[in-house]
């Protein structure tokens, strides 16, 4: 019993992190069908925005506000300049986004150096539940992720932009006849996905070693979250992160963490064999 609550909270932390990272991918890959292998680097860019802000004397909250803006602008330019030209050919998208991710990794390492960066979280203390103490920052992260998730769902279901996006995915041609600009909508959706990933990077930064290669850790996992949950629905991301994050936390208590990560990815491949369209298909 003493172990159960921290384990549950640890699982919730990881689930929230995966939820934050994969939400952006669920838009870019799940909805728009763009296989973005640079998604991990969007996360890294968010974390390094925080590093830069704190190095310049700003605090965590300024980083939390600035990172999604940086991510959004980066995504917007990237979609306009490169992705929109090649989006019809999945192989081309894979090669270009992977090339981009290699370039971003090395560029960040050249700029900031190879050693892990120092960042400070906003809540150093911990909260006590009965006998158990738990870091306050992690509780904040869980709440923040859930709130963002709710907001994104409402935005995609209720707003004009969400309607435009769903329409132009269903049929770009008919949407454009109805007065929607699919090009503009796609660019904004891609940028939104990048902004969410950058936001995830800021939230993640106080908990891990911030290096230029941190994003790679989240690339395969977030793709599996989207695939296992069911590409094409935002709700599936919650199911996917719960399965992947929950299993991984549980296994980490039994076997070394790297092996646990590998085992969960292996299991995800098996799940996809039997449910190729995910747990909650669109």
């Amino acid at each position: 019993m003493q172990l159960a609550l921290p384990m549950l909270l640890n699982a919730l932390t990881l689930i929230s992190i995966l939820l934050m990272v994969a939400m952006g991918l669920a838009i870019i890959f799940g909805l728009m069908n763009i296989i973005n292998l640079a998604h991990g680097e969007f996360v890294t860019i968010g974390a390094f925005t925080l590093v830069a802000v704190q190095a310049a004397g700003g605090d965590f909250w300024l980083g939390l506000i600035l990172a999604p803006i940086v991510g959004y602008l980066f995504g917007l330019v990237l979609e306009r300049v490169l992705i929109s030209r090649i989006a019809q050919n999945p192989l081309h998208v894979i090669l270009v986004t992977w090339g981009l991710s290699l370039i971003i990794q090395q560029a960040l390492q050249l700029l900031f150096g190879p050693e892990p960066q120092r960042v400070t979280g906003p809540f150093p203390g911990s909260v006590t539940f009965g006998h158990i103490q738990y870091p306050a920052y992690r509780l904040f992260l869980i709440a923040f992720a859930l709130a963002t998730f709710a907001l994104v769902i409402v935005a995609l279901r209720r707003s004009r932009f969400g309607l435009d996006l769903r329409a132009s995915i269903q049929s770009a041609e008919i949407a454009s006849v109805m007065g929607v600009d699919p090009g503009k909508t796609n660019a904004r959706a891609f940028a939104l996905g990048a902004a969410l990933a950058a936001l995830a990077g800021v939230l993640l930064a106080p908990l891990t070693a911030v290096t230029a290669f941190m994003g790679v850790n989240y690339l395969a996992r977030s793709f599996f979250v989207v695939l296992v949950g069911g590409a094409g629905t935002i709700g599936g991301v919650a199911a996917g992160s719960t399965i992947i994050g929950g299993l991984e936390t549980f296994l980490t208590y039994q076997i070394p963490p790297t092996v646990a990560q590998a085992a969960v990815l292996g299991l995800a491949i098996v799940i996809l064999r039997f449910r190729p369209r995910g747990i909650l298909p669109a």
């Binding site: 370039i103 090395q106 695939l227």
Partner: protein, 343 residues
């Protein structure tokens, strides 16, 4: 597409006429002869470098067999190369078998391991209907899993520092420890695999694979067991990569987790793409060219090489989507046409 299918149907009888010497075979023969002459003019150091490059070329040939012929990109092919290398290293370093037989046992374990993993993964995802981009993502994850195991399972794999002391390859009676002998071993294996692949794929099998690449459902409707054919090709491709990895480990004498990493998976895609995917002999040339380039660029800065690969991928898509040789051919044609127009 229909063309390929009709030929596949008809070639049961017409096969002998289809096996004329094609340009790819001529290039392959010239290449192998030139390489075979190399030890007579080059120093030992260059020869042993080329031994490693030829094995990497064999690895690239393995990837091209699957990617080039089926159109499905595997992003985790270093998994199989690494399994071959680790299979060899673990057998020779950890198992304590009779040293005369250990390299052969290691070779067998490495190749079988690579083919078996390809079979299991391929069975799950190819029979599960996973194709195209989804296949690429799953194989990418496979390379990450394999790398994590190589780093994490340090009792067997040596963890981050890997395993040292892999002996040079030998069969009872013959040792390939000398650079020249090792070079001819690598060249021999490469040529056998290359000519076998060219010969088999020039015939009916090649046409069936082309038909699957063009339209798998149509090919299946015509009675071809497409999932089985894809799985068999994937396993062959993995076994070739495993073979290359196992011999590579005996050449360098050690294995480390970067033999089973994403960057190597990425590099092998570059080698194949530079040479032109689907040509089989192209990837061999591509590997040699890119390796020469890498030597130059890496000597400037360690960070420059990944940036060069990244830039190459973007250029590959935007400027020469059919591979550099096809681009050069088109460029030459356009130049010639331009000249003709002016005169």
């Amino acid at each position: 597409m229909t063309h390929a299918l009709e030929q596949a149907g008809a070639s049961g009888k017409a096969a002998p006429t289809a096996r004329r010497l094609r340009p790819a075979s001529i290039v392959a023969i010239v290449l192998v002869v030139l390489l075979a002459l190399m030890p007579f003019v080059a120093e030992d150091y260059t020869v042993s470098n080329y031994r490693d490059v030829l094995l990497l070329a064999l690895f690239a040939l393995g990837l091209d067999l699957f990617w080039g012929k089926t159109g499905i990109l595997s992003f985790g092919h270093a998994t199989f190369f690494g399994l071959g290398a680790y299979g060899m290293a673990i057998t020779t370093v950890r198992f304590g078998i009779d040293p005369a037989w250990a390299p052969l046992a290691g070779l067998a374990l490495g190749v079988v391991l690579a083919a078996a993993v390809a079979f299991v993964v391929g069975f799950f995802i190819l029979y599960g209907g996973v194709r195209g981009a989804y296949f690429t993502i799953v194989t990418l994850a496979l390379a990450m899993i394999a790398n994590q195991i190589a780093v994490g399972w340090s009792k067997v794999t040596g963890g981050d520092s890997g395993l040292i002391g892999v002996p040079p390859f030998s069969v009872p009676g013959i040792s390939f420890a000398e650079p020249v002998a090792g070079f001819y071993l690598a060249l021999g294996l490469l040529s056998v695999c290359l000519f076998m692949s060219l010969w088999i794929l020039n015939g009916r099998t090649g046409l069936v694979l082309a038909a699957i690449r063009d339209d798998e459902i149509k090919a299946r409707t015509l009675g071809y067991r497409t999932q089985f054919i894809l799985l068999a090709t994937f396993c062959t491709s993995a076994a070739m990569a495993g073979l290359a990895g196992a011999i590579y480990a005996t050449g360098t004498g050690f294995v480390a987790p970067d033999l089973i990493a994403l960057l190597l998976s990425t590099e092998v895609i570059v080698w194949v793409a530079v040479g032109g995917s689907g040509t089989l002999v192209g990837p061999v040339i591509g590997t040699i060219l890119v390796w020469q380039l890498q030597e130059r660029i890496s000597s400037i800065s360690y960070a420059a090489w990944p940036i060069a690969i990244g830039t190459f991928f973007i250029l590959l898509v935007l400027v020469f989507p059919d591979g550099i040789p096809a681009y050069l051919v088109r460029l030459a044609r356009r130049l010639r046409a331009g000249k003709g127009g002016k005169s």
